[in-house]
Symmetry: C2
């Protein structure tokens, strides 16, 4: 471990991201029920892991631009929309999220569906916003949009959610579980890092390395989620625990056992750290985040 102070890094980034998200909601929507619902879910206290990864990747490779923050916010909006829709009665039917009633409980189902749709759409509106884009930069913007859309879509996150629903009550093999996680949570985590790198004009090698880093921590993140669903404190986490077992969901702890799951997470984090050897100390935030992913309690 190095002397880099992750806690102050995370809290300063979170504040910047929350501010930027607040400005976006204020400027890009008008007062209405849909805005209230979007704001309710988006501005609840999330970890902001994906936008922080986007920014930290950009800072590893180049200098931070307005574009990076815009992409970071767009990714958080996409993440939030996916939570709103996953929580719906027709899907996971969850009542609690980030320590507060889920969107369809707080409002109603129709509003929750539309608030999710609106956040997804707003993400692309932000990503394509051209007020400040010079023409040279437009090509990278398109590449970033494409990366994010691919990760969020029917070959990424959405397919992962489909597989997750289909798997409920069935016992999965380890490979199927890994594949499902890679789609459901891994794809957008990878896209966060890649989009951040593209937007500061990162080269092919840098993108490849950081993608590899993201793949490892993405899976580590998901397994840690599985572990916290068994061992976590619901008051700290702001959501129920024990739900995976109650639903008969296959998880790493249920397949590998708790001990082996924890060992596997450590291996993934070490692999992620090894990839970062390619970069200088500007990658320290990414290094510290890799540790944080497994040490977190929520």
């Amino acid at each position: 471990m190095n002397k880099f102070d992750l806690n102050s890094y995370l809290s300063s980034k979170r504040k910047q991201i929350d501010n930027a998200l607040g400005v976006i909601i204020e400027n890009y929507s008008k007062d209405s029920k849909i805005k209230t619902a979007m704001e309710y879910s988006l501005m609840s206290s999330g970890k902001r892991l994906r936008p922080i990864l986007c920014i930290a990747a950009a800072e590893t490779v180049g200098s931070h631009l307005d574009d990076t923050m815009r992409a970071a916010c767009a990714i958080e909006m996409i993440h939030t929309y996916s939570l709103i829709h996953d929580d719906l009665p027709a899907m996971d039917n969850d009542n609690l999220r980030r320590g507060q009633p889920t969107c369809h409980i707080q409002f109603d189902e129709a509003t929750a569906i539309l608030a999710g749709d609106a956040l997804l759409t707003l993400a692309f509106e932000i990503l394509s916003s051209v007020e400040s884009a010079d023409k040279d930069h437009a090509f990278n913007r398109l590449r970033a949009i494409h990366t994010i859309a691919m990760a969020a879509g029917c070959k990424g996150m959405i397919e992962g959610q489909m597989q997750d629903i289909a798997a409920e009550g069935n016992v999965l093999g380890l490979e199927d579980l890994k594949k499902m996680h890679r789609l459901k949570t891994g794809a957008l985590i990878e896209a966060s890092v890649i989009a951040g790198t593209i937007l500061v004009n990162g080269n092919r090698d840098q993108i490849k390395k950081l993608k590899n880093y993201a793949r490892n921590i993405g899976l580590a993140f998901q397994i840690t989620d599985d572990i916290l669903n068994v061992e976590g404190d619901p008051d700290i986490m702001g959501k129920d625990v024990g739900t995976d077992q109650a639903r008969g969901k296959s998880t790493y702890p249920s397949i590998l056992g708790m001990e082996k799951s924890k060992i596997f997470v450590k291996k993934l984090v070490n692999d992620a750290l090894k990839v970062l050897d390619y970069f200088d100390n500007k990658a320290d935030p990414l290094r510290a985040i890799a540790h944080y992913i497994v040490d977190r309690n929520k």
Copy 2:
């Protein structure tokens, strides 16, 4: 009316659009339940009005490019996603669409929600696809994405759907009804025309004129929908009629009366045609479409 043969124009464009949509679904998704559901709703026999408008606007102003077809397809995907979500039990709870069971009836609610999400996301994946984009063209692509996202989002189509749901059972004034229609269906119709124009590098005047055209036919289209919901033949339309009245929805016929509604539609079409005087005979498809919008029986 001119000698332009609209029927063969529409059927040839529909065939091209259907082919392009088929190729996109084939190339951009992998075999899975979500793909089957996306394909089911997307490839059903729609009018393809929005993509045809996108192409016809592009042809009015410049020469047709691959980009135009891509944008046309993306807009049809966004339109289809909005239908899938609007039909859900939590919203309009419709069983029939385009002559076949709605997506959640054919599959299930979770699949319908995710298929809608996936079509919306795929639209932006297609729009940002960079394989063929040269760098000069990227800036216009971004502008088109932004136009479409704005129209589809929480200040456009989604806000319109929210207002539509809120209005059910209440009597609306004419101005509120017009505003709701403008958002719910008008915004995406306008965006179709504007995106087509932007992508062939249309200038500010051309965009302004065509936007004005689209605004008029967009409202005319919606009022005609209201009229067909009273007078239409469900077998021809492939959906139920009389549903607006049954739900206590305010419509142009219910507020203005049938006769005045028909007169208003004709005025809107005439206004749209007048705007097109600015263009030469390359605007003939748009002229013919303005007539078609009011003369259609489905």
